[in-house]
Symmetry: C2
Subunit: 231 residues, 2 copies
């Protein structure tokens, strides 16, 4: 980009994040005109996702301009982020001035731990919705929840739907439609099991069993954060 950016969007990345929480919306945001997308972390050192994908930050917290969109992804590292003072302070600071404060997946638990979602409706990965409620947030089960200047997506793949909705808010529907066609976003999931409502109890229990350790660790942290926040 040779022109100065009209919009600055910041995606926070962190160790043990879920990479698609970041890469889905990043792909959409990168196609918005006059937009600079920042991959934010404390340093410029490589960040490794749970899946073993190493991504380089582009901008440190200290060098981050005032953001139009602040976006926080989720993933197992979320538990550590909920007590990381440097991260929480950065979110609080940018959250004061950002046009939109947003998240994907369990990123909403981090936003809530920073005190940025109390009094709002927000989305979360389905297996962590009860934990978001414990933090004093009204939980929405829509794929993308819009409440004033808070736009939050559900689990992982919701980040693409979320990204397009943010694009529509910032640049207008025509631009968002152009991006949707460019990305050929005409999904055809092979199975009808993408939400707990249509997957059925057996599959839901299997996924919860798989994620048991993380759900437990997150619950302990969520209870501590709720106490700290006084909610």
């Amino acid at each position: 980009m040779t022109n100065p950016a009209k919009y600055h969007i910041g995606l926070v990345i962190f160790p043990d994040m879920t990479q698609l929480d970041v890469t889905g919306p990043h792909q959409v945001f990168a196609l918005m005109p006059e937009t600079h997308v920042h991959l934010l972390w404390k340093t410029l050192q490589p960040v490794i996702s749970t899946e073993g994908m190493t991504i380089l930050p582009t901008t440190t917290f200290d060098n981050c301009p005032s953001l139009d969109v602040l976006c926080v992804p989720g993933g197992a590292g979320q538990v550590d982020m909920m007590v990381d003072t440097e991260v929480l302070e950065f979110l609080k600071l940018q959250g004061k001035t950002a046009k939109y404060v947003t998240s994907v997946c369990t990123g909403s638990l981090i936003l809530a731990a920073a005190g940025l979602l109390q009094g709002y409706r927000a989305a979360c990965h389905w297996a962590f919705r009860d934990q978001l409620a414990m933090l004093g947030v009204e939980v929405g089960t829509e794929r993308v929840v819009i409440d004033r200047d808070r736009i939050t997506g559900g689990g992982v793949t919701a980040g693409i739907d979320f990204g397009l909705i943010v694009a529509a808010h910032l640049c207008g529907e025509e631009t968002a439609k152009l991006i949707q066609l460019l990305l050929e976003y005409n999904p055809a999931p092979p199975f009808n099991v993408g939400s707990p409502e249509n997957a059925g109890k057996v599959l839901v229990e299997q996924v919860k069993k798989l994620g048991e350790q993380l759900i437990k660790a997150s619950l302990i942290q969520t209870k501590q954060s709720a106490k700290l926040l006084g909610v």
Copy 2:
């Protein structure tokens, strides 16, 4: 993973790739049990996508084990990849023994340039379907095209549907369903414009105009590759 992997999946990454072509299927593959996912390139030096995302390769071509799934993404860098001898030789070598030879988006043009899709039906990003046909490949307009051991996805976001279908082939439907629910893949596109068929002529022309330079450069290369391949 402490156990030796049962499956080796290799995603080729390259400069000027479209990052979601890689990161979408990577997210799915990384959740497959007993699976080692490789991000492959000539060296271990960082690779920068068109969107400015820097991703580190995990494995060089020289150190790559025999793959169960070979997967090639697309993006603007595809034009250079179609004449990159080192890349084409690597694809030919792995293509001989891989259980599945696969691609997302314009990655099918690279596979075709390597001579790995002639006599097969395959998918491609909608704006490049005519170019895939010029390479002697029967073009399918489905989101994911399965023809014997070739599994190919359409444009960018098709990589998620594609990934789940590959997971079902390799690990069975129950595993693929588990991954789909874990990733909350219950898409809700904000607009009904994700394919050229439902987007309408005006939007299709706008996207083609946006991608004009790349489409032209790719066309020149495709014609040269077709001549070389004798198709």
